[in-house]
């Protein structure tokens, strides 16, 4: 019975876990270091890109999604598609208020 289960399941090696962990720590120090480099508005994009890379590593390897069924890929993916819709619609809405001089935009941009 145990053989039947093992052949369907991929057990991630401890070595890979330690490797991913090392990458996460390295990326953490990169995030902190980069915060001290002057880059104006670019800063948040760099920080979020690194954070997304770290999150993807945790999801694929620590959460085993890489070795999971398509059903789990779809469910996990759905969460992120939802986030893309949320930010994807809200960001242009707010960003364009100043361009189009929408009523009340002054309060929004703190002037």
């Amino acid at each position: 019975m145990s053989e039947h289960i093992q052949e369907h399941e991929h057990i991630v090696s401890k070595k890979l876990y330690f490797g991913i962990f090392t990458a996460l720590i390295v990326l953490l120090f990169v995030t902190v270091g980069v915060a001290y480099i002057p880059m104006g508005h670019l800063g948040i994009y760099v920080a979020m890109t690194i954070a997304i890379v770290k999150a993807v590593l945790v999801i694929l390897y620590f959460m085993h999604v890489r070795y999971s069924s398509r059903l789990i890929w779809v469910v996990a993916g759905a969460g992120f598609v939802w986030l893309i819709i949320l930010f994807g619609l809200a960001a242009p809405d707010y960003a364009s208020r100043e361009w189009l001089k929408v009523q009340g935009y002054e309060q929004l941009v703190g002037r």
Partner: protein, 221 residues
């Protein structure tokens, strides 16, 4: 393969389907959690875009060293949690127990450090409410904005800490079961699923840390 109770509940065809179902169930829950934090993060992004200068100054009240240490603690706890699941998959009962205990100690450490950070905020009048007072309020174009930053800080990190506390509760339950030898290579679903929850809470912090602590530290405030 005799056992006091079957590893597979009656509604499932086999153990693999049962494991898949429990994993999907936890993921559906985590998607609702993504929505939960996503909404708060949207509020953060909108206010940060509206008051970039005030958010920068307010963020510099937070201690990067402490935040970095806490992030390391949480990342390590994710490693030990993944190793605990691995131990369960290998049927290593002693390993499961030790790794779950270490995960819990690291989680508790994170919360204690957070507690000290919160205490410091209280002392410096940075808790939103009647006692809130930001030192350079008078010089700012939007004097109310630092309080907005700290409202978001406490809402985000407070909600995160609450999730960590629930996580510690889950770990306690897993620890008790692991000690009793409940988990084996044939049945370790609860450890796997508990791990998914723990990793998710870690991912939330991975985003919160740079957003709250690391707003343009090249600028001297």
């Amino acid at each position: 393969m005799s056992d006091t109770h079957s590893m597979v509940a009656h509604q499932f065809d086999d153990a693999l389907q049962q494991k898949e179902a429990s994993t999907v169930g936890m993921w559906v829950f985590l998607v609702t959690e993504i929505m939960f934090f996503g909404g708060l993060l949207l509020a953060y992004f909108i206010y940060r875009t509206s008051y970039p200068h005030e958010f920068l100054i307010a963020s510099h009240e937070l201690n990067v060293t402490i935040g970095t240490i806490n992030t390391c603690v949480l990342l390590t706890s994710s490693l030990t949690m993944a190793l605990a699941v691995h131990a369960a998959q290998m049927g290593n009962r002693k390993g499961q127990v030790i790794l779950l205990v270490v995960t819990m100690i690291l989680g508790a450490t994170f919360l204690v450090v957070k507690g000290f950070e919160y205490a410091e905020k209280f002392e410096h009048h940075l808790v939103p409410g009647s006692s809130f007072h930001f030192h350079s309020e008078a010089t700012l174009q939007n004097p109310g904005a630092p309080e907005i930053f700290f409202s978001l800080y406490f809402a985000l990190t407070g909600l995160h800490a609450f999730h960590m506390i629930i996580g510690l509760g889950l770990m306690t339950w897993l620890l008790v079961k692991a000690k009793r030898g409940r988990f084996s290579p044939q049945y370790y679903n609860p450890v796997e699923v508990g791990g998914l929850y723990w990793h998710f809470v870690d991912i939330v912090w991975i985003f919160l840390f740079p957003l709250l602590y690391l707003i343009d530290r090249s600028m001297l405030v």
